[in-house]
């Protein structure tokens, strides 16, 4: 339980750093770290397959796509960077306070013996294939439609703008 709490706290901390940092590259590293910690949590919650997918797709593949995109952008001057960093810290000073308050509340609430989180027992005997093809037909179809929508989005919003 303590390790899970430390992991959860680390997850929130890294996620916060991801959105607070001014540099895109650091943000990408933060996102990859968030996914990596999430993968460890998933593994500890008896979902090794979800953990592997999270680690490979979110932490690996998506980071590569982000880094490629960032490589097309231009650096801003050091002076502008300093001003923006200062502005951002002033604007979001309350976020770390909220984080610490939430962590304290969570620790107090979760560590009381009355509160037990009903963890699901993983389905026995069901492989990934069975799970996808026998149980979740409709979601899969939905995801196919979602991919089609995404493809139209890329064609309409990005491919056309290059012409």
């Amino acid at each position: 339980m303590t390790i899970n709490l430390i992991l959860l706290f680390a997850l929130i901390l890294v996620a916060l750093w991801t959105v607070m940092t001014i540099r895109l590259i650091r943000s990408i590293v933060g996102l990859a770290l968030t996914s990596a910690i999430l993968s460890v949590i998933m593994y500890r919650l008896h979902s090794p397959l979800a953990a592997v997918f999270e680690l490979s797709v979110c932490s690996g593949l998506i980071s590569v796509i982000f880094v490629t995109t960032v490589s097309f952008t231009q650096r801003i001057s050091k002076e502008k960077l300093r001003i923006r960093r200062k502005e951002r810290l002033l604007k979001f000073w309350y976020l770390p306070v909220i984080l610490i308050a939430t962590a304290v509340m969570l620790c107090q609430h979760l560590l009381t013996p009355q509160f037990t989180l009903p963890l699901l027992v993983p389905a026995q005997g069901l492989g990934v294939r069975d799970l996808l093809w026998s149980c979740r037909h409709l979601d899969l179809l939905g995801q196919v439609v979602m991919l089609l929508a995404g493809a139209f989005g890329v064609v309409i919003l990005f491919k056309e703008s290059r012409k």
Partner: protein, 478 residues
């Protein structure tokens, strides 16, 4: 048979994208035919109960879909509004390329909406809500100008927040119920051990759905999205897309999944009343027609939410009836706005003032829409508002009933100001040159007249409806 509502549009989507020129040219006709069949199927279900037939593709696709009276009303609404949006697009979107993209995205949106009203598990529901959202983002940004991108960005950001709430809610439902079907979640509500986590789940889910539905104070994206999108997309979004992914899901969850308790009821009632008042007051001060209609939508959605909070079978029937009526008269008013925008190049009421008398069809149909929205008898909006207010009175919620009644007067006030400024007075200013007036006015005029007829006829034949159509809606309550 039910899976055909998802599979046929999907098949048509693939067919339209085959590299065959004449299929692409006939895209509007094919999609129009499909939507007409959907309207007929929903209307004639009592004569020809197609849902009782076994799944044709049952051996390949095992879907847990179901149909009831609420689903039928939604299928009818989706078909009607999507068809009107298609007709508006045919006359307002000029470029062939954009017209083709519009048809494809409309089909994807229809697939998502049909699936939302047919599914009976909460995760599939979420997947299809996202499909509607993603297709809506792209549709808003279709013309790729600055305001369209800004509108899309706002919608995207708030929708992402809604997604986080909804997914967190789903995770909590899974923890509490062990399964995500509506039946399992409903059963879990009777288990006292799962009470705390179900409250968290329901709260998170409601926050997400309020954002999707554009209920105040989660309405930040609505105005920019409606204002920035092309006319046909405004019709689709305001008429049905945001309502199916937000309001319908609330109707379904309150009707057949959640067990409503007093604190939850009070939250919903307050949110509904707040939305009604804020939307109506904000609409009073607007100079842009589409922005005024967007605020009016927020106000009218408030009535549906208020009826949900009342949580009696009569209120529920009123909510569904108002959902249908609102989809029709709000689509009508957005089509009117599209006609004015096409002819005068603007939706700014200061520029449109005194010009509308040149468009008598738009003026008369707009009056029908305005009076129905304000709840003037015998139009359809009057009856649905009456049912909601009666339900509030009969459950002892006099303050909320009073708010609903007074807000109707406010609605009448801002709409009459709009009607008088644009259609009931003459301006000597010259109107801008028209690009292609005859063709445009026929297509838009057809949509305007059809929707106005539906509004008038629904109100006129209302006395025959309660026993056959409206009261059976109560049946979806557990």
């Amino acid at each position: 048979m039910l899976s055909l509502f998802i599979l046929i549009p999907l098949l048509l989507l693939f067919i339209l994208n085959l590299p065959v020129k004449f299929i692409r040219q006939g895209a509007f006709g094919l999609v129009g035919l499909l939507l007409s069949v959907q309207i007929l199927a929903a209307l004639l279900h009592s004569l020809f109960p197609w849902s009782a037939f076994p799944e044709i593709l049952g051996s390949f696709f095992i879907f847990s879909l179901a149909v009831d009276n609420l689903t039928l009303v939604m299928l009818l609404t989706i078909g009607t509004v999507a068809l009107v949006s298609l007709i508006v697009a045919a006359s307002t979107i000029g470029q062939e390329r954009l017209r083709f993209y519009f048809v494809n995205l409309l089909l994807i949106c229809v697939i998502g909406m049909n699936a939302i009203v047919l599914v009976r598990d909460i995760f599939s529901l979420y997947v299809f809500i996202e499909i509607v959202s993603v297709s809506s983002f792209i549709l808003i940004a279709l013309e790729r100008n600055k305001s369209a991108i800004e509108g899309t960005f706002k919608y995207l950001m708030l929708s992402a927040m809604a997604t986080v709430f909804i997914l967190s809610g789903i995770a909590c439902f899974l923890l509490a119920a062990g399964d995500l079907s509506f039946v399992s979640i409903h059963s879990a509500f009777y288990d006292p051990a799962a009470s705390f986590i179900l409250k968290v789940a329901a709260s998170l889910f409601l926050c997400g759905l309020f954002i999707k539905a554009g209920v105040a104070p989660f309405h930040g994206w609505v105005m920019d999205a409606y204002l920035a999108s092309p006319a046909s997309v405004s019709v689709l979004l305001a008429g049905v897309a945001t309502k199916i992914s937000g309001v319908y899901v609330l109707l379904r969850l309150f009707g057949s999944v959640f067990i409503v308790n007093a604190p939850l009821q009070n939250i919903i009632l307050f949110a509904g009343a707040f939305s009604i008042v804020l939307g109506a007051l904000a609409a009073l001060t607007q100079d842009d027609l589409k922005r005024m209609l967007a605020y009016s939508s927020i106000s009218q959605i408030g009535y549906i939410i208020l009826a949900l909070g009342c949580a009696t079978p009569l209120a529920f029937a009123g909510a569904v009836f108002h959902f249908f009526n609102h989809a029709i008269f709000k689509s009508l008013l957005f089509v009117n706005a599209a006609a004015l925008e096409k002819r005068f190049g603007s939706t700014d009421m200061n520029k449109l003032a005194g010009q509308g008398y040149k468009m008598p069809v738009t003026g008369i149909t707009s009056l029908m829409g305005v009076l129905s929205t304000a709840g003037i008898p015998p139009l359809s909006g009057f009856w649905s508002k009456l049912i909601i207010i009666l339900a509030l009175f009969s459950s002892g919620r006099f303050v909320y009933a009073g708010i609903a009644l007074l807000a109707s007067v406010l609605t009448l006030a801002y709409f009459l100001v709009f009607q008088r400024r644009i259609f009931f007075c003459k301006s000597e200013l010259q109107e801008p040159a028209l690009e292609n007036p005859g063709k445009i006015s026929r297509a838009l005029g057809f949509s305007e007249i059809s929707l106005a007829i539906i509004t008038v006829v629904t109100g006129a034949v209302f006395v025959f409806m309660p026993g056959n159509w409206i009261m059976p809606l109560k049946g979806i309550f557990w």
